[in-house]
């Protein structure tokens, strides 16, 4: 069962763990919307160390480029979608 549903606002954890972290740095601490729910897949951050990896939903999360990059020069319409495992996400502020 997935914790979030399509359209939910989510907040990527502001966290910098050692190891095979699969959330790109530039998404951490930012808010986005759930574009699509996929999986579950075994957590790749665990698989990388030979552990079995708990099954987790994998979300396709859409961000506004202007939110990710304060000096973004492209169109205000532009977006980025990253694939993030559920343990990287918290509920975001309603917006």
């Amino acid at each position: 069962m997935s914790r979030f549903k399509k359209g939910d606002t989510v907040h990527v954890r502001t966290d910098y763990p050692q190891g095979h972290a699969r959330a790109p740095y530039f998404t951490r601490g930012h808010q986005g919307h759930i574009e699509q729910i996929t999986g579950p897949y075994p957590n790749a951050e665990e698989l990388a160390y030979g552990r079995p990896g708990a099954q987790e939903p994998l979300y396709r999360v859409r961000f506004r480029q202007q939110a990710l990059w304060p000096s973004y020069q492209g169109s205000p319409h532009d977006t980025l979608v990253a694939d993030l495992y559920e343990h990287w996400l918290n509920p975001g502020d309603r917006s």
Binding site: T38, L58, R62, S75, D78, T79
Partner: protein, 222 residues
């Protein structure tokens, strides 16, 4: 003269000194092995010694992946352009739709993202180099470069312009960062003026870069 004779003659010529050194063709063995090469070779030898892989398994696996080319992806796109029902099945499950065309693209789930007049999609893997090899073959060197991976997420329109691709400000540019279990293929828009082309001819105008999103499909006359 046989090949062996030619070799013998050549060897004979080199037995006498003729006063100047021959330039030697550089070879990969000239440099000491890197840590990664030593570890990869050690791993292959261990797998082989333990009987987990047989001689030739590694080279046949490499041959299998090297046999993949963007032609399969192009065939899939051309079918999407000519068969809306197929395009819908591609939207639901690319791996199953590819099997309908007798393509083996592997088991890693591939997601199709479709360009429209309002949306242009482009692919990257910022964390490593994830790429739909089963549909597009080995990725180009630039796709794995740090420059592409870091710049296409923060200034996609500048990078697209360097590929000769201009996208209107009215059109959303959406970057897809393939960071986990999914791989992507961009379904480009069918260019105008291609109504008369056959499915095979359409496949020829679908380039690898159209399916990464750094280019758009162009008609034959352009």
């Amino acid at each position: 003269m046989s090949h062996e004779d030619s070799h013998k003659d050549h060897a004979k010529e080199h037995q006498h000194s003729h006063g100047h050194p021959h330039p030697q063709q550089p070879d990969s063995e000239d440099e000491p092995y890197s840590h990664e090469q030593v570890m990869a070779t050690a791993l292959e030898e261990l797998l082989s010694d333990k009987g987990l892989i047989a001689a030739g398994d590694m080279s046949s696996a490499l041959d299998y992946w090297a046999s993949k080319t963007p032609a399969d992806g192009a065939r899939l796109v051309a079918r999407c352009w000519t068969d809306p029902a197929f395009a819908q099945r591609v939207g639901e499950n690319v791996n199953a739709a590819a099997a309908e065309l007798d393509m083996d693209i592997g088991t890693t789930p591939v997601v199709a993202i479709t360009n429209t007049p309002d949306l242009h999609n482009v692919l990257v893997c910022t964390l490593c180099s994830c790429y739909p090899i089963g549909l597009l073959g080995e990725s180009p060197g630039w796709y794995k470069s740090r420059a592409y991976r870091s710049r296409v997420v923060s200034e996609p329109r500048v990078v697209l312009a360097e590929f000769g691709t201009q996208i209107s400000d009215e059109t959303e540019v959406r970057v897809h960062d393939s960071t986990a279990d999914l791989r992507y293929i961009v379904i480009p828009m069918r260019p105008e003026g291609t109504e008369e082309l056959s499915e095979g001819e359409l496949a020829e105008i679908v380039t690898r870069d159209c399916m990464i999103g750094t280019a758009v499909a162009k008609g034959l006359e352009e």
